[in-house]
């Protein structure tokens, strides 16, 4: 059988896919708390922006995060934060099946007919990152686009759809 073709999520996904975040009267399936920052230990915050080919911040993207180690899923749109950031509260994974700690990311937006897959790795896991099979499959000069930088508040991970720093997207 042939795969059903993908179509864009479009600009109007918010009341269907992220209703509570955008204050619509419909229950959300999931939100940006893969873990509860106040109730659970080892929770970190990952924030970032999504940039288009002009370097402008994209205010209508939807980001999904999958943490296979803890079997947690999160979803957040970039349309509600004043700086159009995505913000996730998540456990910081440890090594998963011999891989460096990472989160799987799926990126949706108007202007994408088909979603994009990427991964978030962590700056402070240098040793494991150096041995990671998937990071090593990425050209060395692009690996940094997959590595979240650490700061006092948590981690920052920006997604560049195009340009010199274009994020590595995967065919999985």
């Amino acid at each position: 059988m042939l795969q059903t073709p993908s179509q864009t999520v479009g600009p109007y996904f918010a009341y269907g896919l992220t209703p509570e975040q955008y204050l619509y009267d419909f229950k959300s399936l999931s939100n940006n708390e893969l873990a509860k920052p106040l109730n659970e230990a080892n929770v970190v915050t990952v924030v970032g922006k999504v940039f288009d080919g002009n370097g402008d911040v994209i205010p209508d993207a939807m980001i999904e995060i999958w943490d296979t180690q803890h079997q947690r899923f999160g979803r957040f749109g970039t349309g509600t934060d004043p700086q159009n950031r995505f913000i996730f509260h998540t456990f910081k994974p440890t090594s998963v099946g011999g891989q460096a700690p990472h989160l799987s990311v799926i990126v949706f937006m108007r202007g994408q007919l088909i979603h994009s897959y990427t991964r978030i790795y962590f700056e402070d896991e240098e040793e494991l990152n150096a041995q990671d099979e998937i990071l090593n499959a990425v050209p060395a000069d692009r690996r940094n686009t997959l590595i979240a930088s650490k700061n006092a508040a948590g981690y920052e991970f920006n997604i560049y759809m195009q340009g010199e720093n274009e994020t590595v997207f995967f065919e999985i």
């Binding site: 009341y15 896919l17 080919g53 999958w66």
Partner: protein, 235 residues
Amino acid sequence: MSQLIYNTFDYEVQPPRLAPDYKSTVLRAPSKPLVVVKQSLSELTGPVFGDFNLGEFDHDLTKNSIKNGEPMGERIVVHGKVMNENGRPIPNTLIEIWQANAAGRYVHKVDQHDAPLDPNFLGAGRCMTDSEGNYRFYTIKPGAYPWGNHPNAWRPNHIHFSLFGANITNRLVTQMYFPGDPLLQYDPIFLGVPPKGRELLISTFDLSITEPNFALGYRFDFVLRGHQATPFENV
């Protein structure tokens, strides 16, 4: 341990990243080649919503946001099966649904189309496939609406869907169209799909599920990425 390796996207039917007639792909489509990676546990797992507590009327968009009466427009019932490329049904998987109202207006705050909102219609819903992969929901047939892609651009009538399937390789966001819609031949989003894939996005009218004196029936099947028939042996 043996595990299934899932197929990648089939670009004979899947749209490309860059489709210049759909103007907003120009600055948003990744321009560098995708990096092909071996599937790991991270790709071969995904969220399971089997126990997500669906609301009583989540599967009935004609009822799930009634304030003071019935929503306006043509009631329809949409059904079909969720399968993978191997033809295997996908049971207990979640389908999310969103759409414009009968006048072609979305509830979304940035939709500026000068068509009326319907106080009794939100346009969002969800349903779950049953043990044989079948789903069914009720809604109002969505209207066409204008958009800014090019002069006099109109989106054909469509319903948006989001599906999860077996793992994150199965993730699908798509749109279902209606048979005979004259706008399809002018729509760069629909035409972004290669010709071989286009008819897969058009529902069929289904008299067998049409409910007398109540709602027209349409059938739309979803086929998610499948896997090789034989599992790989992993030591």
